[in-house]
């Protein structure tokens, strides 16, 4: 009895296993579909935030595109250079990748304290909705201050401060550009890590108008142009612009600006050295002293 059961079990299970294995083996041969195994690997390398900064529907779509060679390895903004290098390795490409990392910066200094609020806004408390009818501030180029940019950030890298202005945590920012897309007034821009001098205003209003609306706007006085020894700063359409191709800090302009809208931003950790090279430390120190007052 015992032995019979043992044999029957061995035989029946073996038989079932054999039949199924044969079926699977045949199926494997006849029904084989080729798939690029690199897609899966590429997907594993990506950050998986599905932020869409690459222009694809999500990380999965981007991985397929990478494997198919349809897109450059540095397409993933949040992944930055690390991911790009890994992907290069995966695809066996020889080309050295050089991705210039970018971060988001807010180009408006007019918070609640500085800007004139000359109307009462009554409606949905989001920037995009408020922008339909102009928001609360007198300056039509200013930050509306309802924090749409913070809302869309997948990396918890942008927050509103007490003054009603968004502040980017440069160490967390991956440069995916979601906040740039979210801002209805285009006051957030993507800039290189190492581009540290910016004009923190986007008002194209003429001097008197701008001055009336906000204490810290660019009033197009052109003093920056005058005192600029590097030739990097120009006033175009009532707004000062820093040319980052000129790889020098316009220290004179920074000092001269009466409303202090041309400023040096803090270095991103890990980039301090490059930062020091780009800008004379002296100007930076001075700025620091200025803000601590």
């Amino acid at each position: 009895m015992g032995i019979t059961i043992l044999f029957v079990s061995l035989a029946s299970m073996g038989g079932v296993g054999l039949i199924l294995a044969v079926i699977l083996a045949v199926a494997d041969k006849k029904l084989a579909v080729k798939e690029d195994p690199r897609v899966e690997k590429a997907l594993e390398m990506l950050p998986g935030a599905n932020c869409g900064a690459c222009g694809f529907a999500g990380c999965g779509a981007f991985a397929s595109a990478i494997a198919a060679g349809k897109v450059s390895v540095d397409g993933c903004k949040p992944g930055g250079i690390d991911v790009a290098r890994k992907l290069t390795e995966l695809l066996g490409l020889d080309e050295a990748v050089s991705v210039s990392p970018t971060v988001a910066r807010v180009f408006c200094s007019g918070g609640i304290k500085e800007t004139v609020m000359d109307k009462v806004y009554n409606g949905i408390r989001t920037c995009i909705s408020a922008n339909l009818i102009g928001g609360e501030k007198a300056c039509l180029y200013s930050c509306i201050g309802f924090g749409d940019c913070c809302e869309v950030c997948s990396f918890d890298a942008i927050h509103m401060d007490e003054n009603g202005l968004p502040v980017v945590d440069l160490n967390k920012c991956t440069g995916c550009g979601e906040c740039v897309k979210a801002c209805p007034r285009n006051i957030i821009g993507l800039t290189g890590y190492d581009e540290v001098v910016h004009v923190y205003c986007r008002s194209f209003d003429k001097g008197p108008v701008a001055k009336k609306a906000c204490k810290v706007g660019c009033i197009a006085c052109k003093l920056c142009e005058k005192d600029d020894e590097t030739g990097a700063v120009k006033v175009i359409d009532n707004l000062a612009v820093v040319d980052h191709e000129v790889n020098k800090a316009p220290v004179g302009s920074i000092r001269r600006c009466p409303t202090k809208v041309i400023r040096v931003s803090k270095p991103v950790s890990g980039y301090e050295d490059e930062f020091k090279e780009k800008i004379q430390l002296e100007a930076f120190e001075e700025k620091k002293a200025g803000t601590s007052k």
Binding site: V116, M117, D118, K119, V120, Y121, N122, G123, S129
Partner: protein
């Protein structure tokens, strides 16, 4: 910088609003429930008054606490918690223990409403969630009936539906209509519920298609089955006025938040409820199925809404003229 004195207000159009408000709607519902509630207190004694008080208090307190914990704007004064509190008691048996009502009211507000995000987001009717929860929690208490003060003589305390289902006793129509029968606290008097809801219908606070299609379905199906076997299946009028169909159709199925928003959807929803009521009443294990029918269909509302999106003006028609 401080606002200047004469700054103008900016907002998008339209700049005028009708004087309807959520608060007004909820209060109307509450007020129209008062006659039936008062009648129930008279019928079943002052104990029911205690239940009303306990239920309302628990609902309001739970709502307050949850909203505070979630740091949301305070919505107590919209009156929706009050509606839930009253309706919950109205669908419970007259001698339900007060601690059970506390639990039920708490569940109604917290599980029935707040976990979905509070007012307007709940999928199921909160009062019915409370009732169904209690039915599963205290199955014995939920099926204990007593005779009302103005009883029309029946000996047992069984509800007309249970009497019909298990013992084949048919309760006369007039008793059903005026509510001199055993049953849940607030469901017995069809006439008072109808009177109350007439005002709501007039003000369009009830999507009229829902109760209408429920009634029509129940009448048609009830009549069909009655014709098949008059001995076993009661007639449509009995179905209409017995049990919780009136309060269910008028106050619970037609609850704004948990019913479809499209016209076609309302009809489908109502018909399905009617169908389920008849199936459960005639073939199910329970004597009464209104509550479960409504809860079941509540779950389908998102699908119904999706399936019955109205034809947008200017699409899908032949533009030849």
């Amino acid at each position: 910088m401080a606002n200047e004195q004469n700054s103008l207000i900016l907002s998008t159009s339209p700049h005028i609003k009708s004087d309807e408000s959520v608060r007004k709607i909820m209060l109307s519902v509450n007020i129209t429930l008062v006659p039936a509630a008062a009648f129930s207190v008279y019928q079943f004694g002052l104990y029911t008054l205690l239940l009303y008080a306990v239920s309302i208090a628990t609902c309001l307190v739970s709502e307050y606490v949850v909203v505070r914990l979630r740091k949301r704007t305070f919505t107590l004064n919209d009156g929706s918690a009050l509606v839930t509190g009253i309706l919950l008691v109205m669908v419970l048996p007259p001698r339900f223990p007060a601690y059970g009502v506390v639990l039920g009211a708490f569940v109604s507000i917290v599980i029935g409403k707040q976990i979905f995000g509070g007012l307007g987001n709940n999928i199921f009717n909160p009062a019915l969630i409370g009732r169904a929860f209690l039915a599963a929690t205290y199955p014995v208490h939920i099926s204990q009936w007593i005779l009302p003060r103005m009883s029309a003589a029946a000996v047992s305390g069984a509800t007309p539906l249970a009497g019909m289902k298990f013992d084949g006793i048919v309760t006369p129509f007039s008793d059903l209509f005026f509510g001199t029968v055993s049953g849940s606290i607030g469901e017995t008097s069809a006439i008072l519920l109808i009177l109350g809801s007439l005002y709501l219908l007039m003000k369009k606070y009830i999507k009229w298609r829902i109760p209408a299609s429920i009634f029509v379905t129940v009448i048609v199906l009830g009549e069909i089955f009655h014709l098949i076997n008059p001995a076993k299946f009661p007639g449509p009028v009995f179905h209409l006025f017995a049990g919780g169909l009136m309060i269910g159709a008028l106050y619970m199925a037609a609850d704004m938040v948990t019913s479809p928003i499209t016209k076609k959807g309302c009809v489908i929803y109502g018909c399905a409820i009617g169908l389920l009521v008849i199936i459960i009443r005639l073939f199910g294990g329970l004597a009464e199925g209104v509550m479960y029918a409504i809860l079941f269909m509540n779950a389908f509302v998102p699908l119904i809404n999706r399936a019955t999106k109205p034809r947008i003006f200017g699409t899908g028609v032949n533009h030849e003229y």
